[in-house]
Symmetry: C2
Subunit: 350 residues, 2 copies
Amino acid sequence: MSNKKRPTINPKASERVHKRRKPLPEVDVLMEGILKGDRVLLSKAITFIESEHPTHQDISRQLIEHCLKARKPSIRVGITGSPGVGKSTFIEALGKHLLEKDNPLAVLAIDPSSQISHGSILGDKTRMQVLAADQRVYIRPSPAGNSLGGVAQKTRETIILCEAAGFENIFVETVGVGQSEIAVHSMVDCFVLLLLPGAGDDLQGIKRGIVEMADLVVVNKADTGRQQLAAESRKAYKNALHLFPPKENNWIPQVLSCSALENTGIAEVWAAVNDFRKHTSANGTFEEHRQTQARFWLYESIHQQLKRQFFEHPNIKTQLAQMEKQVEAGELSPFRAASDLLALIKISAK
Amino acid sequence: MSNKKRPTINPKASERVHKRRKPLPEVDVLMEGILKGDRVLLSKAITFIESEHPTHQDISRQLIEHCLKARKPSIRVGITGSPGVGKSTFIEALGKHLLEKDNPLAVLAIDPSSQISHGSILGDKTRMQVLAADQRVYIRPSPAGNSLGGVAQKTRETIILCEAAGFENIFVETVGVGQSEIAVHSMVDCFVLLLLPGAGDDLQGIKRGIVEMADLVVVNKADTGRQQLAAESRKAYKNALHLFPPKENNWIPQVLSCSALENTGIAEVWAAVNDFRKHTSANGTFEEHRQTQARFWLYESIHQQLKRQFFEHPNIKTQLAQMEKQVEAGELSPFRAASDLLALIKISAK
């Protein structure tokens, strides 16, 4: 699959005619392939989802509608941690554990920094050799995009397609350095934070607030000779998490340790994910959480689009820059400035 | 000061003529009073800020503009904690300490639940008898309002007026149960979280994320016979805070203990506030933080007003309810639903 060869369904509607491209499979063909778990057609379908091309909007809309209807039960696991914590090795080990039970798996990624590299940083198949070679695994690198919101939207819609294709286990990987965790957290059921043993007593490198989002904290690299250190870290993190108030789903975040390299503790991690799923399914918060997430994305998306239209309006653009300076300098009340700006425009029916 | 007697500056402009009300002091008179530190005229001016009456908007706008120009250096301290932690006693003790140094003090409050009680819960003068009786102290209960955003706006503008009136020390009190701390945190320089000694090892009752916002954590009620317990709690909280990554201003949150009742440890709390002020002033983050806050309120206020206009539009109202249900049920992609909704309206110049 290459992003460079983007198929167009209706060349006439497109201003640029891509002569060398093959004629496109229709939505029906794509859907048939997705439902059969055909990874080539799934990839083609995801390419439509990822495309910014206006003529692809209709196709991706239809694909998503069909896939939403065809969804099967799944567990979506978010995995984050600072660079160097061993995310790829961990995903490879956890994925191998799933394959032993013949569980199909999709590995997606969100990396907002991949705008230039087109997603080569995360979800790189070369770093997950066993998974990449297995027909029961689907790996897709981070989509490119100009905004985290856009990247997150594409990944969330890709999840829907993967679930329709029968991938019951969805991993979404991200880096532990910023806003991207919040995006991932709002699209997964279970959020796993990877940490290193003995990395000081602080959570250096992990953004404030990320720790609180974790359902599972896993001290990775508890390799031979470092088990004692890992056990101490595990205890310290456990005490720290204990200080947080309980989550709304009544789940107490678990702290585990493992060595992805030596394949120890991996089964325990997956058992904890299953415990989480059982616990939240039993008290109804699993489904509730998904509904809350869907509502979150609805309103988030409305707000983003509304703001874009507002701030791109020429009347606003010219005034805002000047007002912002006055507000920062303490010469103008921010509330008054906002009212003045809003008074410049009106919202009406189309 | 009574909210019931709301003065109007221009009875002709008002549709309802309030015959029994006294003719109003002009903005000039109010400003002269504020600049002299006249508490009666300051209260009258704040009543305009708090008023929802359209004819008062012009006056409050002018007052704020004048006061922004007349502002003096100040420190704004946010104080929060669960009910029962002793906020009033703590503020009374800390305020008395300031008065010993002849420092004027304004005590404001944000209580979103005070819509009905008109702010009687917090900032109640009867609970701060020494402060209430002192001419160097100005106490104002929480403004009423239909939304936290509205209440926060009024309090933030009240801070501006108090600063122009020469109150160099501004305390903003709030309850430790929700969104109101985030509002207070975004309008103060230094955020103080009060906790009880030995209240278990967890922060029960304190919302997730509040602890991370604290610049100072104070274990109150370290009264005679409970000092050992308080010392243990202090140590536990100190260890827990140590696990958080450093703040952007490079300030390491301090954990102290005090007995507001027995007046021990209070001077140390105020010394820590001063340390915070010196530290952040020296590295430039004090002023930077205020600029960030002003920008935050500008954009927050724009977003709120924009959303209100959008969601109140009849075309949106009728469609949204139905779409939200489909999105929650997983039948419709939230992103597509948002695009469809946005397609119903347009933003144009007035």
